[in-house]
């Protein structure tokens, strides 16, 4: 970076003791004084998958106060699930998150299996693990496009989203659907892997690695990206517990919390994976961490493809699904999505219908209380980049 930008922007610090006036830790905002502007950013954003708006108060181009507003996407899934039979539920849960529906399918199915005491076959577990990792890489590819796009670098998004399409082709092969797969059902998975699938998946892993090396050269070595992302939205280690931060956002601040390793589910304990953490906690660190996690996912996919058994059942025996009564009880199943801990809390009262299904998405805290805190004192032009760097997914918030 040149000296001008460093002296002009990096070392500039506004004197917050003089203006704006603070009361109870919040700025006093008088819109009639003409010193503030109130605008709405959203509900449409580049990079954020879904609709969510920020009500921001500006002083010049600096954000003084920010509030998240949701409600543009509320489809009432949790209410709908209370009136559906258990087997009807699994076509709904995948719609909670568009870029990564498989985590929802897995958590819901695993909760139903645990409550009804069904053990699924080995091969189904392997295929589920493969499916979850594939959905992680697809979601990450979309995210990095959004992160670059929100800073004005559209080309990365074109590359990675087109590569994501090839992953969606693989999903289409195994499940028949590109976006909503409805593949992981209570009791196992719907279909076996098609012939020649493993080779095609291995080829795609090689292709994706090649693309990622291009992305590294253009995105992570770009001085503009570096200067805009470094120091943006710093999450301190103390904030992690206070705000319930999970996933790469927490690991970027040094917190060792990855559901795949802390409480291994499916076949993750038989795979070779390391906990990736970083210190720094700013947007650039998180981006680098996610980039490493993409490589980790590709690594895991290769390992899983080698280990999937050729023969075996893919579906356990389940009772007649139309009159399927599940014993009373409650459980909480969690899995690691690209955004962090993603869980389903299912309560059964012994009838054919669930009493309560609650979906805990990572964006619930990231997009509301964390974003509102981090957005203050940043420039309005950086807000979109900050939003994507927390990997916000609004459908998880309102369910």
């Amino acid at each position: 970076m040149s000296k001008i930008s460093e002296s002009k922007y990096k070392n500039f610090k506004a004197d917050r003791e003089k203006f704006p006036k603070m009361e109870n830790g919040k700025p006093v905002i008088d819109l009639d004084s003409h010193k503030f502007t109130k605008i709405w950013q959203g509900p449409q954003h580049p990079g954020v998958t879904g609709n969510m708006s920020m009500e921001i108060t500006l002083n010049g181009d600096e954000i003084v106060d920010a509030k998240t507003h949701v409600g543009y996407l509320h489809r009432g899934f949790e209410k709908l699930l209370e009136r559906r039979k258990y087997i009807q539920g699994f076509t709904i849960v995948c719609r909670i998150c568009v870029p990564e529906p498989d985590t929802n399918e897995y958590c819901y199915s695993a909760a139903v299996e645990e409550l009804s005491g069904i053990e699924i076959p080995e091969k189904a577990k392997w295929i589920r693990t493969l499916n979850l990792e594939m959905s992680r890489i697809a979601s990450f590819l979309m995210w990095i496009g959004g992160q670059a796009g929100s800073l004005g670098m559209g080309i990365i998004g074109q590359w990675t989203v087109s590569m994501r399409d090839f992953w969606l082709d693989l999903f289409e092969e195994i499940s028949g659907g590109r976006i909503y797969h409805m593949y992981i059902i209570p009791g196992g998975v719907r279909k076996d892997l098609p012939k020649g699938f493993k080779d095609r998946a291995r080829n795609l892993v090689t292709k994706t690695r090649k693309l990622l090396s291009d992305v590294e050269r253009t995105f992570f070595n770009n001085s503009i990206i570096k200067s805009r992302l470094k120091g943006l939205g710093i999450i301190t280690p103390e904030m992690v517990d206070e705000y319930g931060i999970v996933g790469p956002n927490a690991r970027g601040s040094g917190k060792e919390y990855d559901v795949r390793q802390n409480t291994p589910y499916l076949k993750y304990n038989e795979l070779d994976l390391n906990m990736l953490t970083a210190t720094g906690g700013d947007a650039y660190t998180r981006a680098e961490l996610r980039y490493q996690e993409m490589h980790q996912s590709l690594d895991l996919i290769t390992q899983i493809l080698d280990k999937i058994p050729e023969d075996g059942d893919i579906q356990a025996k389940i009772p007649n699904v139309i009159n399927w009564k599940i014993p009373a009880g409650q459980t909480y199943i969690k899995a690691e999505s690209t955004r962090g801990e993603h869980g389903f809390y299912v309560v059964s009262d012994g009838s054919k219908f669930p009493r309560r299904v609650f979906n805990r998405g990572a964006s619930y805290t990231h997009a509301i209380s964390v974003l509102e805190k981090l957005a203050v004192n940043t420039s309005i032009s950086d807000l979109a980049g900050l939003m994507v760097s927390l990997h916000t997914c609004p459908p998880e918030i309102e369910r």
């Binding site: 209410k79 409480t263 009493r355």
Partner: protein, 186 residues
């Protein structure tokens, strides 16, 4: 984990249930909840609050609140279940223990009608705007009745018998072919 449960049992009365190796549930009375949560957070390292949610048992006239905590060291999830009265539907706020708990409390206030006095921004709207009915996630809220009352069916939607429809619509102006006169007719 057993030691922990014994330590809690020394202090207050609880019932516990083991669901999995890494998931336990504790039933506790309403008056002990703040003590238990702060004890678990400060002394026992249950520092991560995953969620706070409600389950409606309208036939027993009660709500069940679930606080899901997580310990990074022992890697155990602990769900704390409290029963509160459905008529009164009021609970102590925990925003002092976990600053992000206000979101869950705001959601519960809007969707279940459970009040958390003193919780920041608890009266703001979350996903609903201008809602005048009973809180929609309560089980006695009838979604079908509400949608029939609020929305109307688009006019012109009725089914037709295809055979009659074809005759009526398509062959209405059908003209019989003129008869060819022959000598024999006369």
């Amino acid at each position: 984990m057993k030691q922990l449960l014994n330590r809690i049992k020394d202090k207050i009365e609880i019932e516990f249930l083991k669901q999995r190796d890494d998931l336990y549930f504790i039933n506790v009375e309403e008056k002990h909840i703040i003590f238990l949560l702060s004890y678990l957070k400060e002394q026992e390292e249950f520092t991560h609050l995953s969620f706070l949610q409600a389950v409606d048992y309208n036939e027993y006239n009660m709500f069940q609140l679930t606080y899901m905590l997580y310990n990074y060291e022992t890697k155990v999830n602990l769900g704390i279940k409290v029963i509160i009265d459905r008529e009164k539907s009021e609970m102590t706020s925990i925003h002092k223990l976990w600053p992000h708990a206000w979101q869950f409390q705001r959601e519960l206030h809007e969707l279940y009608g459970i009040n958390f006095p003193g919780s920041p921004r608890v009266n703001e709207s979350f996903v609903l705007e201008g809602w005048e009915e009973i809180p929609p996630m309560r089980r006695d809220f009838d979604t079908k009745k509400y949608s029939e009352k609020t929305f109307y069916q688009r006019p012109g939607r009725y089914t037709k018998n295809p055979k009659d429809y074809m005759k009526e619509k398509l062959y209405k102006n059908f003209v019989e072919p003129p008869k060819i006169r022959r000598k024999d007719d006369e």
